[in-house]
Structures are given as structure tokens and as C-alpha cells.
């Protein structure tokens, strides 16, 4: 196994945290206008960036020991989290197609793990 489980776990947790960052960025972007103050005093954008930083620290730690071709696709777990946050915070619908997408991503991650163990 070229990529240890600890690195995979770090990237998965980092992705979950990063998906929260995307929600803050979206929320902050909704409040943007031509006025520079709408960027400078936008706390949601700031929280989004801070959340991304935390997620990046976990990602770099994970990446220091493992393969990019295994670890990078694992970030897709973040999309599943984003789906849940989008439903909770923006009331975007969870359709059957979206659920199918979630299932495919999970199956893909299992295959990646199996390929890594080979």
C-alpha cells in the first residue's frame, strides 16, 4: 500500500471541513456589490477562507505521505457534504439524481482504495 490510511483519513476530514468553507464563500458572494466594503467587511468570506486554511493544513499533512493520484480524488467526499449543506442552508433540493451521484462517488472512492491496496 503506497498511501497509508492515516493520509486518506486526513484528506477525507479535510474535505468535509473544506466543504463548509464553500458554503461560507457562496453566502458571502451573494452579498457582494461594486462597493469595495462589501469585500473588506464580509465576515462570511473571511470565515470561508479560514475554513479552507484549516482544511489545507490537514490536506498538506496527508499529502506528505502518499500518492496524489489516490488522495486528490478523495476530495470528492466534499461534494457529498456540499449537497447536505446546500439543502440545509440554501434549501436546494436533494433529487434522486443527486443521490445517485453521491452513491457513485462513494463507490469510486472504494475502488480507489482497492487500487491503492493492490
Amino acid at each position: 500500500m503506497t498511501t497509508p490510511f492515516s493520509s486518506i483519513a486526513l484528506v477525507l476530514v479535510g474535505s468535509l471541513i473544506g466543504s463548509l468553507g464553500a458554503i461560507f464563500l457562496k453566502s458571502g458572494a451573494n452579498a457582494l456589490s461594486r462597493d469595495w466594503k462589501s469585500i473588506a467587511f464580509n465576515w462570511k468570506l473571511a470565515v470561508g477562507v479560514a475554513t479552507y486554511l484549516l482544511s489545507s493544513v490537514l490536506f498538506v499533512k496527508g499529502m506528505s505521505n502518499g500518492e496524489l493520484s489516490v488522495l486528490f480524488p478523495m476530495v470528492s467526499v466534499g461534494y457529498i457534504c456540499t449537497l447536505v449543506w446546500s439543502r440545509l442552508f440554501f434549501n436546494e433540493q436533494i433529487t434522486r439524481a443527486k443521490l445517485a451521484g453521491v452513491g457513485l462517488i462513494l463507490v469510486g472512492i472504494v475502488f480507489l482504495g482497492l487500487g491503492n491496496a493492490q
Binding site: 490537514l58 498538506v60 480507489l112
Partner: protein, 146 residues
């Protein structure tokens, strides 16, 4: 009478904005493999530095945090992500998060190529299938938003 014939101008502008948002995000996907390559190289350097100091165990969270700001290679990688983020925020103003976010899945192809070609990582059928299924899943997720 369809809504399009009632408000033609607003719909044309809206559709054009959405198309532009999608185009920006597609261009964004080309930034990701370059950024990931630099971050991976830098992370390898952090591990090598730890080894050179005869320290055991993996790179600590603090070392990883410091590395993001003090390792020029990692820093350059994240600067590219900064460019990516600015473009992505701009694109988000014109489209739904659940549609634009999955579009980034194109980056999986570029990252897999750069991992094998530049980082000499192994590739096998199981990994390829995994990447392909993840891309399909991310695409289906995006379609589900419509």
C-alpha cells in the same frame, strides 16, 4: 405563451451569465493540476526535512501549517488556488453552487495525468475505474441540480 416570450431580455442575459460562469469554472480546472503538483512537491519536501532531522513519525499539523506559508513550493501552489478561488467566487454570483462545484471534476483527469507523468506514481485499472466513477458521480450530482 412561455415565460421566455414574456421576458425575452432578462432570460437572454441570465442564460449568458450562466454560460459565462460555467466557462470560467472550466478554465479554473486547468489551474488545479498545477497547484496540486506544487503542493505535493512541497509536502514531500516537508517529509524529507523531517527525515533529515532524524525525526520519526509523519509531518505534524503545525509543520504543515508553517509549510503552507514558509515553503515556497507549497505557497506557490496555494497562490494558484487563490487565483482559482477569486475566479470561482466570481462565477458563483451567476450560478448555483451545486451545479458549478461539481464542474471542477474535470480536474481529476488533469491531476491523474500529472501524477503519473510528472510524479511517476503508479496507475492501475482499479484506480482508473475509481477516478472515472467519481467523475461520473460528480457529473450526475451537477445534473441533478437542474
Amino acid at each position: 405563451m412561455s415565460p421566455a416570450t414574456i421576458l425575452p431580455e432578462a432570460n437572454v442575459v441570465d442564460a449568458a451569465n450562466r454560460r459565462r460562469a460555467v466557462l470560467i469554472v472550466v478554465v479554473c480546472t486547468l489551474i488545479i493540476p498545477a497547484a496540486q503538483y506544487l503542493i505535493k512537491l512541497g509536502a514531500n519536501q516537508l517529509a524529507a526535512q523531517k527525515l533529515a532531522l532524524h525525526q520519526t513519525g509523519s509531518v505534524s499539523l503545525v509543520a504543515a501549517m508553517m509549510g503552507i506559508f514558509t515553503n515556497p513550493t507549497i505557497f506557490a501552489g496555494y497562490c494558484l488556488y487563490g487565483v482559482f478561488t477569486v475566479l470561482f467566487i466570481y462565477a458563483l454570483r451567476h450560478g448555483e453552487l451545486s451545479i458549478l462545484y461539481p464542474l471542477i471534476s474535470l480536474a481529476y483527469v488533469w491531476v491523474a495525468i500529472i501524477a503519473v507523468v510528472a510524479l511517476h506514481e503508479s496507475m492501475n485499472p482499479l484506480k482508473l475505474i475509481g477516478i472515472a466513477i467519481i467523475m461520473a458521480g460528480v457529473t450526475v450530482l451537477g445534473r441533478g441540480g437542474k
